[in-house]
């Protein structure tokens, strides 16, 4: 999953990005409104964490403009706690609204919720044949036994599982699994796919030659 964080307070941005990366997300950052909007429009993020008070365009503006073209789930982050601000945020198109200061665990859970909702999934647990994926605990089970899996591999599995039935192109995978800070080596993806097949069965991920991968 690839997340964009738009937040102008540098210390906050840095540690939030770090925390999310350690959770297994690919994270892009922006510290002002204009860059934030540019990034959000240019890339298909799985979720955006958006601060309201930003230099340049403020969070409301970014959300309004973004919603013209994209349905990316947005979690608004702000110090403004008035009911009308919450209502405004949700009505403008935010999927959730979190007040600072916040608990990291809560952000993680809400993030998972909005991603899950946008993939039209209602539970945390996805079952595909012998494989069970607990998106809350970020665990994968094969035949009810926990599987040792790296963060990047988990991200791959989760993404394909949430888009079950769809063919996901390599480009999409690159976009959603790696952030702008990483150089994408094209065979890195193959390595991850191959590792997953070794752990969860060769048929788990199907290859569509010339198109991409999918989980059926």
């Amino acid at each position: 999953m690839r997340i964009l964080i738009v937040e102008d307070e540098p210390d906050l941005l840095a540690s939030l990005a770090q925390a999310l990366r350690e959770e297994g997300y690919a994270v892009d950052t922006a510290d002002n409104g204009d860059d934030g909007l540019f990034n959000a429009e240019g890339t298909d993020y799985d979720a955006i964490i958006l601060d309201v008070m930003l230099p340049g365009l403020d969070g409301w503006e970014i959300l309004k403009r973004l919603r013209k073209t994209k349905k990316t789930p947005v979690l608004m982050l702000t110090a403004r706690d008035q009911t009308r601000d919450r209502v405004k945020g949700l009505d403008t198109g935010a999927d959730d609204y979190v007040i600072k200061p916040f608990d990291l665990e809560e952000i993680f859970a809400r993030l998972r919720a909005i991603i899950r909702r946008s993939a039209n999934k209602t539970t945390n647990v996805i079952e595909i044949g012998d494989v069970k994926i607990d998106t809350a605990a970020r665990n994968v089970f094969f035949k009810d036994k926990v599987v040792e899996i790296t963060a990047r591999e988990y991200a791959l599995v989760e993404f394909l599982a949430l888009h079950r039935g769809e063919v996901v192109t390599r480009t999409q995978l690159y976009e959603h699994l790696f952030d702008e800070n990483e150089s994408s080596l094209s065979n890195l993806l193959d390595v991850h796919v191959s590792n997953v097949r070794k752990k969860l069965g060769a048929e788990f991920i199907a290859t569509r030659r010339g198109h991409g991968y999918c989980i059926e």
Binding site: D8, L12, A14, S15, L16, A79, P101, F102, D103
Partner: protein, 462 residues
């Protein structure tokens, strides 16, 4: 007594009393006039009868028999005998006892009754006094021929007339009084209704609903002004309260961001084992946040103290130019960082005040001037005496402030760019300057041109 506290009742009572007095006066006057009229009528009648009687005794010379009078009815007056005295025909009905007035006459000659009318007996008292004197009126005069004539009448009919008139008047007056009181009461109620509206609105306001206003359209012109003044006062009250609430809420708000930094930084770093360098980074970030909070708290407390009037300002004589120079030293590093030049034109000037607080204000102004400036920009600081005041101007070559925002720069928590959380600027610097300057009896103004610069002018009494 509660009744006497009510304006309505007091007005009613006064009005009632006045009405009573006026009506009584009118009534008494009416009766008096009637009495006079009666008197005049009586007098005329009595004079007429007197003349008649006197005419018998003392006819006007020259004596000439008038037609209808037999010549031998007129003996010379001095020789008239009592039994010869009788009134001529045409006067016979003047002393008719059927007339309720009971006109009578009595003629005395030499102290003794010489002649009288038939109904005069009642009026002659001899011996014991009668039970009650009948109401009567008479005229009694001597005649040139020596007789003493009394002509009188009973005033009983007049009295009864007056009595009946008095009753009728009395009842009418009471009816008018009652009617007047009712109408007056209604008028007073109507007149006082705007006052009731005003006091009703005031009660609601003091109970806490500051959005109430008096409906001015209802209030008549004299009260309309009062209502307008009250409305504007209520508006000011409401806005003052709103500002207070806003201040408290904004203050809490400002603390959210540094706290959230600390929380996220510490939670992240504690998520797993880290190396010393990571912990150090986190701790430094927490320190930065804590410093921000400390500055914020200091600013808030200062403003709160000034607001509550608890701030005790020192009153010392000191050289303001020295203070400004000291502040400039503090700001030098920041200016160097942003390659901004600070130029001074300071006249040595002594003022009385709190040098520490004023230094705080000056530092705020200088810091702003440097921060909101362009690279290689300038800050011109000028101190001069003008019209008995110390005038300090701080001019920068920065991006300027939009005209729409100019009136708001001194507002608490107002930041030019609403997001400058990173710079640790909570938007209180200018609010504090204003409070300090005004506590010294001075004024602070700002003028600006977008993309050219901003000038702050502080005037302090010397």
């Amino acid at each position: 007594m509660k009744v006497f506290n009510s304006i309505k009742w007091r007005l009613q009572i006064w009005y009632g009393l006045i009405l009573v007095v006026v009506l009584a006066g009118l009534g008494i006057t009416a009766i008096k006039f009637e009495q006079e009229r009666q008197m005049t009528w009586l007098m005329t009648n009595l004079e007429q009868r007197f003349a008649a009687v006197a005419g018998v005794l003392h006819p006007h010379p020259p004596e000439r028999p008038s037609p209808g009078q037999t010549p031998d009815d007129l003996p010379p007056p001095q020789n008239l005998r009592p039994d010869q005295f009788h009134l001529p025909q045409q006067f016979s009905n003047l002393f008719d006892s059927n007339d309720p007035h009971n006109f009578y006459f009595i003629v005395f000659r030499n102290g003794e009754i010489f002649a009288q009318s038939t109904n005069a007996q009642v009026y002659i008292h001899s011996g014991e006094k009668p039970q009650h004197y009948p109401r009567m009126f008479d005229i009694a005069r001597p005649l040139p021929s020596g007789e003493f004539v009394t002509v009188g009448c009973s005033t009983e009919p007049e009295f009864q007339e007056l009595k009946s008139m008095a009753w009728k008047l009395g009842i009418t007056c009471i009816a008018i009084l009652i009617f007047g009181l009712i109408v007056g009461g209604w008028l007073v109620s109507r007149a006082l209704r705007p006052v009731e509206n005003i006091s009703a609105a005031a009660v609601k306001i003091s109970a806490g609903d500051l959005s109430q206003r008096i409906n001015v359209a209802e209030a008549e012109s004299e009260l309309g002004q009062l209502a307008a003044v009250l409305n504007s006062t209520f508006a000011r009250l409401e806005s003052a309260f709103a500002q207070q609430k806003q201040f408290a809420s904004d203050a809490a708000h400002e603390l959210r961001t540094p706290v959230s930094v600390i929380l996220t930084q510490t939670q992240t770093v504690l998520n797993r084992e880290r190396d010393a360098a990571s912990y150090k980074q986190t701790v430094e970030a927490c320190q930065r946040a804590a410093q921000r909070m400390r500055k914020l708290i200091e600013s808030l407390l200062a403003l709160a103290r000034f607001d509550a009037g608890q701030e005790v300002l020192k009153r010392q004589r000191f050289d303001f130019s020295r203070t400004i120079a000291d502040c400039a030293e503090l700001v030098k590093p920041l200016a160097a960082e942003r390659s901004v030049k600070i130029l001074f034109e300071l006249e040595p000037m002594e003022i009385i005040g709190d040098s520490e607080r004023l230094a705080q204000a000056v530092t705020n102004l200088l810091t702003n001037a440097v921060q909101y400036n362009v690279p290689d920009g300038e800050v011109r600081v000028k101190l001069q005496a003008s019209g008995g005041l110390a005038v300090l101007t701080v001019a920068d070559t920065g991006q300027g402030i939009a005209a729409a925002d100019l009136s708001r720069v001194f507002e608490r928590f107002y930041r030019g760019d609403q997001s400058r959380t990173g710079a640790g600027n909570a938007g209180l610097g200018l609010a504090i300057c204003k409070v300090i300057v005004e506590a010294h009896g001075g004024t602070i103004e700002v003028s600006s041109q977008e993309n050219a610069g901003t000038i702050f002018t502080v005037r302090l009494p010397t």
